[in-house]
C-alpha cells in the first residue's frame, strides 16, 4: 500500500486532473498486478490494496482507525472502486455494502470482479448498488468500458456542479441588489453538498447504462460456458 503525501493548499474535493483515481482491491498478488497495469494503461491513477479492510482504511471508513483530518480522507479522492468478490475476511460484497452505507462515499461507483459467473451473485451485487460486474479474467476492453463511463459521469457531474455554482453566483448577486423583485428562490434549493450523485444509473441498480453494457455480465452469461 503506498503512502500518500499531503499537498498543501490543494483542493481535493474536485477531480481537477483528467485522470480517474481507482482504488483496486484484490487479495491475489497476480490479479493485483494485472488490474493495476490494466488501469494504468487506461490512464488511471491506481491505489491497489489487498483486502476490504485496507480499502476501508484508505477511504477513512475503518471504525477502528479514527480519521483526524476534517475532510475525512488521507489521500487523493477516489473516483472508482474495483474489487474482487471472493476475498478472505471481508468479501467484495461486504465492502460494497459498507461503501454504499456511508454518506461520504456512497456516490463512488463500485465494480465487482469475480471468476464465478453466478447470476444470483451478480444480481445481489447490482441490487446493493454495484455499478457493474466483471467476470474474471479481466480484459482490457472491460477496464476501458468502465473507465469510459466513469469519466463521462464525472464530467457530467462537474458540468452539473458548474451549472449549480453559476446559479448560486447569480442568486447571491440578486440578493445583494435587493429583494424587491426577487421571487425569492433561496440557495436552499441548491444542494450545498459537493458530493451529489451525477448519475441516475447509480440510484437504480437495473437502470440501463450506456450501450456498451451490451458487453456487460448479463450478456456474457449467455456467451461463456459455465465452469
Amino acid at each position: 500500500m503506498r503512502t500518500t503525501e499531503k499537498i498543501d493548499g490543494y483542493d481535493l474535493s474536485t477531480s481537477d486532473t483528467e485522470e480517474v483515481h481507482v482504488l483496486a482491491v484484490d487479495d491475489s498478488l497476480v490479479d493485483r498486478k494485472v488490474i493495476e497495469r490494466l488501469l494504468r494503461i487506461s490512464s488511471c491513477k491506481v491505489t491497489a490494496v489487498d483486502s476490504g479492510r485496507r480499502a476501508l482504511q484508505y477511504l477513512g471508513l475503518d471504525e477502528e482507525i479514527q480519521k483526524k483530518e476534517t475532510n475525512g480522507f488521507d489521500g487523493l479522492k477516489v473516483d472508482l472502486i474495483i474489487t474482487d468478490y471472493c476475498m478472505p475476511g471481508m468479501t467484495g460484497y461486504e465492502l460494497l455494502k459498507k461503501v454504499k452505507e456511508s454518506s461520504a462515499f456512497r456516490e463512488i461507483p463500485v465494480v465487482i470482479m469475480s471468476s464465478e459467473n453466478v447470476i444470483a451473485r451478480i444480481d445481489r451485487c447490482l441490487e446493493e448498488g454495484a455499478e457493474d460486474f466483471i467476470v474474471k479474467p479481466v480484459k482490457l476492453s472491460d477496464v476501458k468500458r468502465i473507465i469510459d463511463y466513469t469519466t463521462t459521469e464525472l464530467r457530467e457531474g462537474e458540468q452539473r456542479e458548474g451549472a449549480r455554482a453559476r446559479r448560486r453566483g447569480i442568486n447571491k448577486r440578486k440578493q445583494r441588489e435587493g429583494d424587491d423583485d426577487l421571487s425569492s428562490s433561496p440557495p436552499s434549493t441548491l444542494s450545498s453538498s459537493t458530493s451529489s450523485s451525477p448519475s441516475s444509473s447509480i440510484q437504480s441498480a437495473t437502470a440501463p447504462l450506456s450501450p456498451s453494457t451490451l458487453d456487460s455480465p448479463t450478456r456474457r452469461l449467455k456467451m461463456t460456458s459455465s465452469e
Binding site: 491475489s28 498478488l29 497476480v30 490479479d31 498486478k33 494485472v34 497495469r37 490494466l38 494503461i41 471472493c86 478472505p88 471468476s115 474474471k136 479474467p137 479481466v138 480484459k139 482490457l140 465452469e227
Partner: protein, 154 residues
C-alpha cells in the same frame, strides 16, 4: 541462428502453445499490457504466478496429508490457484483446478490426490514452456530485434 529465424521460431512456438491448450486468449491480453515502459511485464506476472503456485501446491500437499482433511481450506487454495492461472492464460492449469474443485465438493480424497498430481504436472509443464518462450525472447532482444506479436486469428 539469424534473427529472423529466431523470430519465426518464437512465433511458431507460441502458436503451438495455444494449439496444445497450454495458453489461452488471456495470455494475449497480458502481452498487450507489455510495452517499452513495461518491457518485462509478462515475465514479472508469470514469475509471480509460479511463486504463488508453489506456495499453494505445498499447502495443498500438506492439507491432503492430514488425518482430518479440511476440504474447505483445500477448496479455497484451489480456487486461488484457478484464479491466478486463469489471469495469466495458463489454461491447462486452470482446467486441472476445476476438476480438482469438483472432487473437493464431493469430499473425495483419492480424487483430490490425483488432481493434485495433475495440477502439479500442468504447472511443471507450462513453467518449462514459459522458460523456453522467455529464452527465445531474450535471444531476439540480444540480437537487437523486437519480439513479434501474435494475432489471435491464426
Amino acid at each position: 541462428m539469424e534473427l529472423v529465424q529466431i523470430q519465426r521460431r518464437l512465433v511458431d512456438y507460441t502458436k503451438s502453445l495455444f494449439m496444445e491448450g497450454f495458453l489461452d486468449a488471456q495470455f494475449l491480453q497480458l502481452q498487450q499490457l507489455q510495452d517499452d515502459s513495461n518491457p518485462d511485464f509478462v515475465f514479472e506476472v508469470v514469475s509471480l504466478f509460479f511463486e504463488d503456485s508453489e506456495k499453494l501446491l505445498n499447502e495443498l500437499t500438506i492439507a491432503l496429508d492430514q488425518p482430518n482433511v479440511d476440504f474447505k481450506k483445500i477448496d479455497s487454495h484451489v480456487h486461488q490457484l484457478k484464479g491466478s492461472s486463469s489471469s495469466i492464460g495458463a489454461q491447462r492449469v486452470k482446467n486441472a483446478c476445476i476438476a480438482f474443485r469438483n472432487y473437493c465438493d464431493v469430499q473425495n480424497i483419492e480424487g483430490c490426490l490425483t488432481c493434485l498430481q495433475q495440477v502439479k504436472q500442468e504447472c511443471y509443464l507450462v513453467k518449462n514452456k514459459f522458460e523456453t518462450l522467455f529464452r527465445l525472447e531474450q535471444q531476439i532482444m540480444a540480437s537487437g530485434g523486437s519480439v513479434p506479436t501474435i494475432e489471435l486469428g491464426f
